[in-house]
Every structure is written in C-alpha cells, then in structure tokens.
C-alpha cells in the first residue's frame, strides 16, 4: 500500500512498494516563495541517503533537495522544469521531482508520517 513520508528538511516521499516519488512539502514551497528554476539529477544515477537529487531555486534562494533513502533514480519529472507550478500539485500527482528505486529501505523507518510531520511543523513554527 502506498504511503507518504516526510523529513525534517521538508522533503516528502510517496512510497509505492519499492518506488519513491520525492518532492518538497507545501511548507518548503511556502518558505522558498516564487520558484524560478528547478534542476534535476540524471536518470540512472545511484544515490546514497543524503545525496543531492535536485535543486529548487526561488527568487530568494537555492534549496538543495537530498535523497532521504538510498537507491537509483529511475525517472525525472522533466515537465516540472518547464512548468514550475506543477510542484504544488503534490508528489502523487505531477508535482514530484524524481522517482527512486529504493535499494535500502532501512532509512524509511526514520521518516515521519503525515501526523508526525504536522506536529513537527507546529514545533518549529
């Protein structure tokens, strides 16, 4: 069954069996403000937990997006680099950045579910 997971750095994952669609949360989008550019890693790249998989640039700043889990990038969302607004559509729709085939699921246990992430946002506010 598919599920959503979240990191303290405001990445979000939609996990369907061993495939994770990764993007950034609405909170991160709000904090960044108007986006101007998205750069994605390449398909086929093997990443470890903590490796950069995308860079999201806003008028204000550049934010690196790090992979919360190890795996191989199997697909990148090229459409989003032309239409940055798609990012607000959600990672289970067309707002994901990259899709990763998870090679080591052990790190998933450290991630938050939606309720825990909601609590976390309240804490840091």
């Amino acid at each position: 069954m598919a599920e959503f997971k979240y990191t303290k750095d405001h990445e979000c994952l939609h996990i369907d069996e061993d495939i994770a669609s990764i993007g950034i949360t609405a909170h991160a989008q709000d904090a960044l403000g108007d986006l101007v550019f998205i750069e994605l890693s390449e398909v086929g790249k093997t990443v470890s937990k903590g490796d950069e998989i995308a860079v999201v640039e806003s008028v204000k700043t550049a934010a690196e997006v790090y992979s919360p889990v190890a795996g191989e990038i199997i697909e990148t969302n090229e459409a989003i680099t032309d239409d940055l607004e798609l990012i607000s559509h959600g990672i289970n729709e067309d707002g994901w950045l990259v899709k990763l085939k998870i090679s080591d699921a052990s790190a998933l246990g450290d991630l938050m579910d939606a309720a825990a992430y909601g609590e976390y946002l309240k804490e840091i506010d």
């Binding site: 108007d34 750069e39 008028v59």
Partner: protein
C-alpha cells in the same frame, strides 16, 4: 544586539518576514512575496523603509572643498537643491562607500550613506573635518522611499504636495520637517522622504493606505536595483575596487585630481560589467565567471533572477578584454557551466523623471 528603525512595529504589524541587514532588523518581504513585490513596484507604487541608512550634513566654509577631497566628484556646478551620486575613496583609491550628496546651499550639503558603512564613514569624515565645518548626524530621522510611476500622484493625494515640477535628482522641502528627493534605487520615478522619527509612522501610514501602494522589503529592493545595474556596496563595490574599475567614471569630476587616493586610481585592468544568463539557471554572488576555454576570469558580485525580464542577471568584475557587451562567457553554478553574455546595464530602461522639467504650455 540588532538596531531597529522607527517603523519597526509597522513592519511587524504588516506581517513582514524580518531579517538582519547591516546590523538592523529589517523587513525582507511582506505578504506578496519577493516576486510580486518586485513587479508591483514596476507596475504600481512601492513603499520602502530605508531608515537604516545614514543621514548627515556638512555645513560651513570649506564643506565643498572637503567633499571634493573625500569624493572624486566636482561639486562647483551642482545647483542648489540638486543631488549627485558619488563615492568616498580611501588612500588606495578604493571605494569605502557610495552616497547621495544634496547641495542645500553654498557650502551646505546633506549626505545619505549606507547603513553598513555609517559608523566608519562618520569616523572618516570627522577625521577630515576642518574647524569651520559643522557636522550633524540625523540619527533620529527616518527615510521612506516611495517608488513607482504613480508615486507623484500618491504624494499629491496623500500628503497634499504637488511635485510635478520637481526634476530628477532634486530636493523639495518645507519648514525643515520634511525633505523629499526625487530619486531612488529602483529605476522607477519616485521619492525618498526624510522625516523626524516621531513623524515617520504617520507618513508611512498615510502612504500605505493609498490603494496603489504596497510595502516592499529589502529582497525586492535588491532585485529591482540589480535590473538597473546599480551597485550594492560591499558586493559590487568595496575598498578593493576603484571608481574606474567599478565603471563609475561618470561620478568623477574632470577637474578634481586631488581627492583622497586619486593617484592610485589608475587605468583599470578589470571592470564591473552586467551579465545576462542565456542558458537555464540562476547564478548568485560568488559564482565563477569563465571564458570559453573554461578558465576562471572573475566572480559574480551580485546575481539573481530578474522578475521583470524572466531571466537571470548579475554583475561581476572581469578583465577589460572581456568587458564588451555581447562577449560569450559562462557562469559556473554547482559545477555546471551556464551560458551567459556580457550585457549593457541597465538591463531594462530606467523610467526615472527627466533631469529638467519643461514647463507646461499654458
């Protein structure tokens, strides 16, 4: 301990995102966000608190001579209530600040200096003062910028002052309680309004209540000035750059050869240029500038996305031989070369008022 301006509580009430700038807690952006604030100023009118900047005056015999020693400008031909942009130089000919100089009378000048340079500028000026010059620091005065093509209408409707005949780079004042200069840091028509701190809130509230006016933070102030190719002190100019390297030869007076550091302002080997990215991406301050052999030729001194032009732009210092508009260069961002070219500044036409207003036919 950060300082705050007289309008600090107004920013908080407007829900501003605050941040540290030059030792002050200042609004970075408000509810609209950076991009919309930027475009609002280009299309409507923006209100900025720039009270962190320093306001000082020099009055008395020798004030003009002093300024012609501290800056490379000639002020003899500057009219009363006319304003000139200039720079302060050190013994090496390096720029220690940029500033606006208003001549309010013969040997009487009002200066607006950068917040981050305020303390060192004041010490430097005092060190060079001659006995007959009276130095005043207006540290209990606020400075409010109103920028945009409708600024003149707003001032007339809200403050009841008709400034239609006030030329660009000129000063209007009344009763020594409000000084209005027609200039700005956005490339739009507009004004900077200097008022005592205890009257600042009232002026701010009146202006912000106008339907065409939105408050604008320092982030959009930066992107607006970048589109105009204006320098941000500490980034595009500093003590290691001379006025010639900074491409500010136009502030230098033909007959002023005796300013501090003049003998060290030599024919430059590098120059500040505009840079326009033709490839996709955003390059920010510090990004390497490379030639077509992938050799580093400089760094961006400023850089960011231009909301008006929908491209990324910047400024940087590169060797003179590359400093020609159209020269193909690259900026390196996170290890990737993005195609760019040397570009003329401003990146888009300024829409400031003419320097001389032709009287209306009656």
């Amino acid at each position: 301990m950060s300082r705050s301006t007289a309008l600090h509580s107004a920013h908080l009430a407007l829900g501003a995102k605050m941040g540290a700038f030059a030792g002050y807690d200042m609004p970075l952006y408000y509810g609209l966000g950076v991009k919309k604030e930027h475009l609002w100023v280009r299309e409507n009118v923006g209100l900025f608190d720039v009270s962190h900047m320093g306001q000082i005056s020099l009055k008395g015999k020798g004030a003009q001579d002093l300024l012609e020693k501290l800056t490379p400008s000639s002020l003899g031909k500057l009219g009363i209530n006319r304003i000139k942009y200039s720079v302060l130089t050190n013994e090496n000919g390096g720029i220690i600040d940029d500033l606006m100089i208003t001549k309010t009378a013969e040997d009487e000048f009002h200066l607006v200096i950068n917040a981050g340079c305020k303390d060192s500028d004041i010490a430097w000026i005092k060190q060079n003062l001659t006995p007959e010059i009276e130095f005043t620091h207006y540290d209990d005065w606020a400075l409010i910028a109103l920028q945009g093509s409708g600024a003149q209408d707003v001032v007339r409707e809200v403050l009841g002052i008709d400034l239609s005949d006030l030329p660009y780079m000129s000063l209007w004042y009344k009763d020594y309680t409000m000084f209005i200069s027609r200039l700005g840091y956005t490339g739009e028509d507009g004004f900077e309004i200097s008022v005592p701190n205890d009257g600042a809130q009232d002026v701010w509230n009146k202006l912000i209540a106008h339907k065409t006016v939105e408050p604008i933070g320092l982030a959009a102030r930066d992107s607006l000035r970048l589109e105009m190719g204006y320098c941000l002190y500490g980034h595009d100019i500093d003590a290691n750059t001379t006025p010639l390297e900074a491409d500010l030869a136009w502030v230098m007076g033909k007959h002023n050869n005796d300013y501090i550091g003049a003998k060290n302002v030599l024919k430059p080997t590098k120059k500040r240029v505009g840079i326009k990215l033709t490839g996709k991406g955003v390059a920010r301050e510090g990004a390497e500038i490379r030639n077509d052999k992938d050799e580093k030729i400089g760094e961006l001194s400023s850089g960011g996305f231009s909301p008006s032009l929908n491209i990324s732009i910047g400024q940087g210092y590169i060797p003179i031989e590359y400093a020609v508009a159209g020269t193909r260069i690259f900026v390196n961002v996170r290890g990737r070369n993005i195609e760019a070219q040397v570009a003329k500044m401003p990146f888009m036409p300024a829409r400031t008022k003419k320097r001389n207003v032709i009287p209306k036919a009656s």
